[in-house]
Symmetry: C2
Subunit: 600 residues, 2 copies
């Protein structure tokens, strides 16, 4: 029944507003020549940046270089149809590529057909998870990842990636997924360093770092306009690729043993479903889920940042569908997991992209590159691609953030530290699991101790305030407790402790009144605690009363036995409760303040 | 440094109040003859109940029967020294015994020496976890388990246990940890049913059910006093044990193949540390942790219920230490994991126990039984013990609770259902993990949508109220948002969405004021969200202001860059903010209500 109702509702909603599911219908209507020109310009600039990056991230994921190109075609088009961000660019990104390598590396050896099939299946599964979360509107699951955990995870991933790429700079073969393994491998392999790889790799790295920091100011001093100078910086990796490819080709370094991209099959990928294998699906489910959530968090952060700059809106649940469809698209066109990338999206935005059509043009340009460049890529040294990766990921490493977070909050700093150390020493999956576990535990710890105040009457008024902070009057027979949070399982036991401790400490108490003005919700655990408190208080001759219970909370309580079994009563206001239980207190204090015991 | 400081503090606290760590020092001082007599009586009654129960739970855990006796000696004494509850009785209980069988069954075959060693190690590890949690005051971890999850888990465990014990009633050998496996095993083995086991088992079960429901009223009608009748009911299992043992001995059924307890080594267990094996420790760590938490939740619930009845106090963190010490005690004296049992504690309480000395006397009586009874136990049929277990656990099964919880809250009902189904179909560990996962997800979902209200000025006052509920005035240039919850990672993104959606929807807005009167805490994730909001608003020409920030929150914000980079200002009150940003609004409305746009 609920499923049928839900399906009907969704279908009606879709019939009324089809552009909610296909935002393309919204922006395509007002598409004009000026927008076209802006989108085309952005597409050219983004493509120049994407070609080396796509090849490099495929390498990082342990896949053949052309897979990076494939993963930059279909996803851009699918995102354009379903996405609500005007300028987000999806494709392979560093962290997700590393996670892909970690997940698939457990299943098959790099370079095998099984490895490639598993990577495609990982994208497919991750796409299905995202689509499912989108349809069920489970975007809130991303909030499992706190900012310190994400930030720590990205920093640690950046370090891991940079360390792992050093092998290409040295031209050696090593394996390892954790920092100690990688460093030990590099140390052992150091004597086998290839001088050609080292020269090309270190040269390219130095050149790219120089262009990042110095090229733009230099060009601007030479009189280039700001925008053209920025494009030149983005094109620098292409220059590195071209020059080192020419060097490798000129000296025929591949024949002498230098690792190059090698043979790339010509033509576009064919559309097909990845082979579905039950055992493989089970093995990939958990990594696919983590990749989905990490990828979604990255996507939504980038999309929201860019949308806010132009006061546009994005729909977080629709973004799940768009990213899911993009990953299914990647899987069906020979690609691997993709997500909304920060660098490429910012470049797209800065280059003036106005609509997702810019992404579609980029996809067309990438397809053209795939068709024409494959031969030219043969001599491209892997050391150059590694240099591209190292320069890109080192900008992700932000150890200063650790100091800032630690200074602001020890607890968050500890979660971040654990994520970093866990990721470096035990790999990406364990690292992120540790961080999430610790953040949840800390969150639960905070939720488990809500603020509970003993309140008394402000003399001469109907107001009640904390006895520790205000001069108020109380009666020794009455314990008035104000609970400053909703009641649910993390704090249910604390509530019991609070009441029992206080009535055990003062045997004069005959009435306990819980003031529920800040209680928006009472879950079953808290309900059972209230029932237990009521029972125990009854047994020891004390009545439990409630005051200022909100309407929705009261409606729900009416469905339980609590109100029926309650030793005391439910009062509309706390003053009513006092006036009814100790009329002499309220009347006297209204007339003449502070005649009973008072707290300063 | 912090560790050293912590250790010093704890040492000072211990020097000042040694009875906090050893509550025995507190109650032993005022021990007198009357208390002694009450405690001795309770001990005799509890012992009569414990002997068959201890043997039965050992059988349920897959251990030799005498291990149940051993586990009922040392833990009672250790709890007496460290525990803060006057009447809690620790020892083997049904659910923990089942969990022990599930955990240890994966490691060694039942009946082997390795199985016994693993069970002892499990108790040891679980004790260490509890001690660690006690020293670090991590009792709040128990709040990971919501009431519906615990209740569902106990119901499902009861069903699983009862089903698994049917094999002893049929006298067949089957294996299986999940309900389908057990039922399939029983079905297949049905033709091998032993008539002697069936007669004894079904007879004992029927007798025990009869005594539970009918014996007490019958005896009272015969003129027995209430208390003595209750003791007779408790002694009924002993009668069943004696009669069936005599029957089995008289007909020499053991020689004909009936499963009986058999040879029990005479004498008390020797004190020794269980063998510590790294690989085994790693395998047992997760089950030990789950057993610790489930056992602690059961202990603390029972202890708190009993303490509240006499207005006594228990200390939840000290209970962790007491239960941890009891498990270490069990492990070192040949036992298996123990916890505070509900039935035995209630019997102890009802029989008049006043102090943990009653537990020590029970331990002495159990030791005496171990020394004298071992020979007599040879012919005790396992079918009788199975009958004891079935009757005990069926009282744990409460499917009505599912209906109650479902009626009160669909979300909690779903978590309970998932726990029950998961436990029955996939076993205890997966079942509880599913329940905890779903409760946490639901909790996070609720936390991720805090109440955020757009507020306006109540005309003629300095008060601000929700525009949807009150007649208030607002300015089109100003968005006043009141956030009714602390800001932390589960709701950080929601905060961003709330602000961005509203400023995208109304382009007249020039100022956003966040009214923080209900914000008790801002974690790093929320701080980053505020910084991002501030940055994005600045970029689109809107200023972010804060009002009514609490002192401790402000102190913490001072350690960040937010206040320095803030596009707007921080105002003491929301009225100050309005008065400063749109003086014409506040002055006009104070003088003459509702001149600007107003909301009904």
């Amino acid at each position: 029944m609920p499923v049928a109702r839900w399906a009907t509702e969704r279908w009606t909603a879709f019939r009324r507003r089809p552009d909610r599911l296909f935002p393309v219908l919204d922006w395509a209507r007002s598409y004009d020549a000026e927008t076209l020109s802006a989108d085309l310009t952005a597409a050219v600039i983004v493509t120049i940046m994407l070609i080396p990056q796509s090849l490099a991230y495929a390498l990082l994921a342990g896949l053949p270089a052309e897979i990076g190109l494939y993963a930059s075609i279909a996803p851009l088009i699918t995102y354009g149809v379903f996405g609500t961000s005007r300028t987000l660019a999806v494709g392979p990104v560093a962290v997700i590529s590393l996670m892909t390598a970690a997940a698939v590396g457990k299943i098959a050896p790099q370079g095998s057909a099984d490895y490639l099939a598993a990577a495609m299946l990982l994208a497919f599964l991750s796409g299905l998870f995202l689509l499912g979360m989108g349809v069920l509107r489970l975007g809130f699951l991303a909030s499992f990842l706190s900012h310190p955990v994400i930030s720590g995870f990205i920093t640690a991933s950046g370090i891991l990636i940079a360390a792992s790429q050093l092998r290409h700079l040295l031209g050696v073969r090593i394996h390892g997924e954790t920092l100690p393994e990688i460093l030990e491998g590099l140390w052992t392999a150091l004597p086998q360093t290839r001088i050609d790889a080292l020269v090309i790799g270190v040269g390219a790295t130095a050149f790219l770092f120089w262009t990042r920091s110095r090229l733009k100011p230099l060009l601007m001093r030479l009189g280039w306009p700001d925008k053209r100078a920025a494009i030149a910086v983005r094109a620098a990796p292409v220059l590195a690729v071209v020059v080192t490819t020419l060097v490798a080709w000129g000296f025929d370094l591949a024949a002498r043993g230098l690792s190059v991209v090698g043979d790339v099959p010509p033509g576009l990928p064919s559309l097909s479903l990845p082979p579905l294998d039950g055992a493989l699906l089970a093995q990939l489910a958990m990594p696919a889920l983590i990749i989905s959530i990490v990828g979604y968090v990255e996507t939504i952060s980038v999309a929201q940042t860019l949308a806010a700059r132009r006061r546009e809106r994005i729909d977080p649940d629709q973004e799940l569908i768009a990213l899911g469809a993009s990953n299914v698209g990647a899987a069906m066109s020979g690609g691997f997991p993709v997500t909304g990338g920060f660098a490429r999206s910012v470049v797209n935005f800065d280059s003036g992209a106005r609509t997702p059509a810019a992404g579609a043009f980029t996809a067309a340009a990438m397809a053209l590159a795939t068709l024409t460049l494959t031969g030219a890529l043969y001599h491209l040294p892997q050391a150059t691609l590694a240099a591209t990766i190292i320069v890109a990921v080192l900008s992700l490493v932000d150890l200063g953030a650790l100091a800032r977070v630690w200074a602001y909050s020890r607890a968050d700093g500890a979660a971040m530290m654990l994520t970093i150390v866990g990721t470096l020493l035990a790999g990406v999956e364990i690292g992120i699991a540790l961080g999430v576990g610790l953040s949840l535990a800390l969150h639960l710890f905070r939720s488990s101790r809500p603020h509970v105040a003993v309140v008394g009457q402000v003399p001469g008024t109907e107001h009640f305030r904390n006895v520790d902070r205000h001069e108020v009057v109380t009666s020794p027979e009455i314990l008035s407790l104000r609970i400053d949070e909703s009641l649910y399982f993390p704090n249910a036991r604390f509530l019991e402790d609070s009441v029992y401790d206080r009535i055990a400490a003062d045997r004069r108490i005959r009435h306990v009144i819980l003031m529920c003005s800040a209680v928006n919700f009472i879950d079953s655990s808290a309900l059972e605690s209230l029932e237990a408190i009521n029972r125990q208080l009854k047994d020891s001759g004390v009545s439990l009363h409630l005051s200022e219970v909100k309407g929705p909370v009261m409606d729900r309580l009416a469905r339980s036995h609590l109100l029926h079994d309650l030793g005391g009563r439910v009062f509309l206001t706390h003053f009513d409760a006092l006036a009814s239980l100790v009329p002499e207190l309220t009347s006297r204090t209204l007339a003449q303040p502070r005649t009973l015991s008072s707290h300063a």
